[in-house]
């Protein structure tokens, strides 16, 4: 009797397990079928363009700051448009930025089927995944299905996405310039009558910092963060590969050894000793509640039109005055901060490219993805400006989907922000070695070591926390031991090859 009871109990457990497995299988079946039926349509497509397109399903992975409760609603609305225009249904797969890299690296390595995938140089790394073969080259598809998108983006931006001469992702066109400078709190500038037009170099800030230090208790004159403080080569006449601008021989300099680097580090040390810089600068990662609204000056590496409005929101609501210290420049890294690629596992690359074209040229679809549904998730305040509801059920970043210039502006941005940004993009100084990307394959170990040494010393030196007389030589010594010279030689070798191929006399 009881024996039977136990046996049946065990059987039940077993059944539960099995049931679970088969249950999951069922749940996934439709997707599997979708993949199979999708295959023939691909062939059909290749046969004749003008045939009516058979229906396919596209899976699109992209990053969000937070997955929204109304995601399904947006997907349904998106599909109404996409279904009508290119007879496809899109499965939107938003993943939060924090998990994005891990999740997509795994899914991509496992050969999971998806079509469109968002990539960048700071999450789900574009260069690495191109080398791994995660994406397909897009040149032909772009010509065939996305001529408008191709046209809207300047050619140097396309160059930035090239690996061995081929394009592997479509840039989500937005600000592609960077401009180094400082921002000062307006109320303090007015109070002390500081003449901002006198600031031509960092050094010129000193009188202002001094006044704030002497007269404003509890306010940090110059707020620095460890990872955010960098030696800006462009301000000192170098480009990102360490080539002095105007140098026709393209000799790359080891920046840490230059007198300019030394003078920057010494300047920061001087300020730190005078108490202008926050004591914990080398360890602070981001200006948070402790410093919010409690500093007078900040360094900016990406001044773009309308940035003052953003700054105001993030710095305790104080108005700021931005003073650029360099021309707007464009470098490879600022062109590949947000891209959309097509996965090599895509069964329908043609249709995926059509979707990219549609998103980049159909403002209705683009705004739907970026801001949600009018009246429900946002209100229009002006013709092209929207206000996002405080507790809106849908939030996304407009720059993960496509060309931001097709979309609405957010309240607080000037009406001509897009025009200004576009103008700046097109007039920006293109760095001489733009498009060159260092490939660390041959010096992997040395490169990693050098990077580790940099991560250790840079925050200390850049923020003036330690004495450069002692630590700068030590830093250079450690870099040398880590193999910096070998890395430098490899960089020069690759650069020479690149110059021979890309720079016409």
């Amino acid at each position: 009797m009881t024996k039977m009871k136990y046996v049946s109990m065990l059987l039940l457990c077993g059944a539960l397990l099995l049931g679970a497995c088969s249950g999951g299988g069922q749940g996934n079946k439709p997707a599997g079928n979708g993949g199979e039926t999708a295959q023939p349509s691909n062939n059909g497509n290749a046969g004749g363009e003008d045939d009516s397109l058979s229906e396919v399903e596209l899976i699109w992975y992209y990053g969000v700051s937070q997955v929204s409760p109304d995601q399904k609603l947006i997907e349904d609305e998106v599909n109404k448009i996409v279904k009508e225009k290119i007879n496809a249904t899109v499965k939107l797969r938003p993943v939060d930025f924090g998990s994005y890299t891990t999740k997509l690296n795994t899914a991509s390595a496992a050969g999971e089927k998806f079509d469109l995938v968002w990539t960048a140089n700071w999450a789900f790394n574009y260069d690495e995944n191109v080398k791994k073969g995660a994406f397909i080259p897009l040149d032909e598809l772009l010509e065939k299905h996305a001529p408008e998108t191709k046209k809207a983006i300047p050619s140097f931006t396309w160059d930035a996405t090239k690996y061995q001469g081929e394009i592997y992702a479509v840039p989500n066109y937005q600000t592609i310039t960077s401009r180094y400078g400082v921002s000062l709190r307006k109320d303090l500038v007015d109070k002390y009558g500081f003449d901002t037009s006198s600031v031509k170099r960092l050094e010129d800030l000193e009188p202002f910092l001094k006044q704030v230090k002497e007269n404003e208790k509890g306010i940090v004159p110059l707020m620095l963060t460890g990872p955010g403080t960098v030696f800006e080569p462009f301000m000192y006449g170098f480009d990102d590969s360490g080539v002095r601008i105007g140098d026709d021989t393209f000799q790359s300099n080891w920046l840490e050894q230059t007198p300019e680097y030394k003078s920057f580090v010494e300047l920061m040390r001087g300020w730190f000793e005078k108490g202008y810089i926050n004591d914990d600068a080398s360890t602070v990662k981001q200006i948070d509640s402790i410093y919010n609204g409690k500093y007078a000056t900040g360094l900016e590496s990406a001044m773009k039109p309308g940035y003052e409005a953003e700054k105001k929101a993030s710095n305790g609501g104080y108005d700021v005055i931005g003073i650029p210290l360099t021309e707007a420049t464009t470098r490879r890294t600022s062109n590949i901060t947000t891209l959309t690629a097509i996965s090599r596992t895509s069964a329908n690359p043609d249709r995926a490219m059509m979707l990219i074209e549609l998103v980049n040229n159909d403002p209705e679809l683009y705004n739907l993805l970026s801001f949600g549904i009018e009246g429900k998730h946002y209100e229009k305040v002006e013709d092209n400006t929207v206000k996002i509801g405080a507790n809106a059920g849908y939030r996304a970043q407009n720059w993960v989907f496509g060309n931001v210039f097709n979309g609405y502006l957010v309240e607080g941005q000037a009406a001509d922000t897009w025009e200004e940004t576009k103008k700046l993009n097109e007039s920006a100084f293109v760095q001489p070695t733009f498009g060159f990307a260092f490939d660390d394959t041959n010096v992997k170990a040395e490169y990693a070591n050098v990077m580790a040494v940099k991560a250790e010393y840079q925050p200390l030196l850049m923020t003036g926390t330690v004495d450069p007389d002692k630590y700068l030589p030590e830093y250079l010594e450690k870099l040398r031991n880590a193999g910096a010279e070998k890395v430098q030689a490899e960089l020069q070798k690759q650069l020479d090859a690149w110059v021979a191929e890309n720079v016409k006399k």
Partner: protein
């Protein structure tokens, strides 16, 4: 009657008491801080920083979280299901296999032990694991993708084996002589005798399931199946990630005010961690018993 401790003299006593009071405070303080921050008004946080007593009391964070109660309730439901189903199944499997390889009269005892031991040393790696779960078991977006991988831990099996091996074989023999079958011996004699081990391991396993988020991160896309910890990790991770990459994304202009503020995040921590802190004391008795397992046994 004078106790041993009293004989040691007052000073030593005071010292030990003080030591443990400080130690306990060090452990309890962070929890209090979290609870306090979660109950502090956000603007007060910005101007005064963290403090152990809310500088300006506010329950806004909890109200904000409870505005969309379904998200948290669903996550709770998922986590409860994962923890309950996972722990029960896992304990059953662990004790069954632990028992089998602890039996002296079982011929394949050694090879099976080695077989259990191997995955402790070597693992298949992340990508094959992912392929197995998504492409062979088809468990993507299923809660079983979180439960199955944690079902059998070789380490726990070996602990279980160690414990069950200590149960005198004579008990099994005499039960057999009285006519008990294998199932009856296992469920009526071995399992009741192993309660401390079951409770201890059960607690560990339950903790593992309760805290599990990595498998969920990999396999769960559907927002309705997100367990509690993943909800938390997502918010925390994303913030950290964006902060660490601020040099790249400055140009993109991410609106940090879109993220839940400090007190909301802490309130979420309280809601996630709170229940487990109440469950723990109930297991304490078994836990202490389990710790002494195998040290002193007649």
């Amino acid at each position: 009657m004078e106790t041993y401790a009293n004989r040691r003299g007052g000073m030593v006593n005071i010292f030990f008491n003080a030591f443990f009071i400080v130690l306990s405070m060090l452990i309890v303080a962070p929890f209090i801080l979290i609870v306090s921050v979660s109950l502090t008004d956000e603007s007060a946080l910005a101007s005064f920083g963290y403090s152990f007593l809310p500088s300006r009391f506010s329950t806004l964070a909890y109200e904000y979280l409870l505005q969309t109660p379904m998200v948290i309730l669903r996550a709770y439901g998922n986590t409860l299901f994962i923890t309950l189903a996972g722990t029960l199944l896992s304990i059953l499997l662990t004790s069954i296999i632990g028992y089998v390889i602890s039996r002296r009269d079982y011929a394949l005892r050694s090879p099976l032990t080695v077989f259990v031991f191997i995955p402790m040393m070597f693992s298949g790696g992340l990508v094959p694991f992912y392929i197995l779960v998504t492409q062979y078991l088809h468990l993507k977006n299923s809660l079983w993708a979180i439960i199955l991988p944690g079902l059998l831990s070789p380490f726990y099996v070996l602990i279980m084996k160690g414990f069950m091996g200590k149960i005198p074989y004579e008990i099994i023999e005499s039960a057999k002589m009285d006519g008990a079958g294998e199932w009856r011996i296992f469920f009526r004699i071995i399992l009741p005798l192993s309660t401390p081990a079951l409770a201890t391991l059960g607690l560990f396993i339950a903790f593992n399931y309760w805290n599990e988020w990595f498998n969920a991160l990999l396999f769960i896309d559907d927002d309705r199946r997100v367990p509690l910890q993943l909800l938390l990790v997502r918010i925390m991770n994303t913030l950290d990630f964006l902060r660490n990459n601020s040099e790249y994304i400055q140009g993109l202009g991410i609106d940090m005010s879109q993220f839940p503020n400090e007190s909301v995040r802490m309130a979420l921590v309280v809601m996630v961690a709170g229940p487990m802190m109440f469950v723990f004391p109930f297991f304490q008795r078994y836990f202490v018993q389990g710790m002494t397992v195998g040290s002193l046994k007649g």
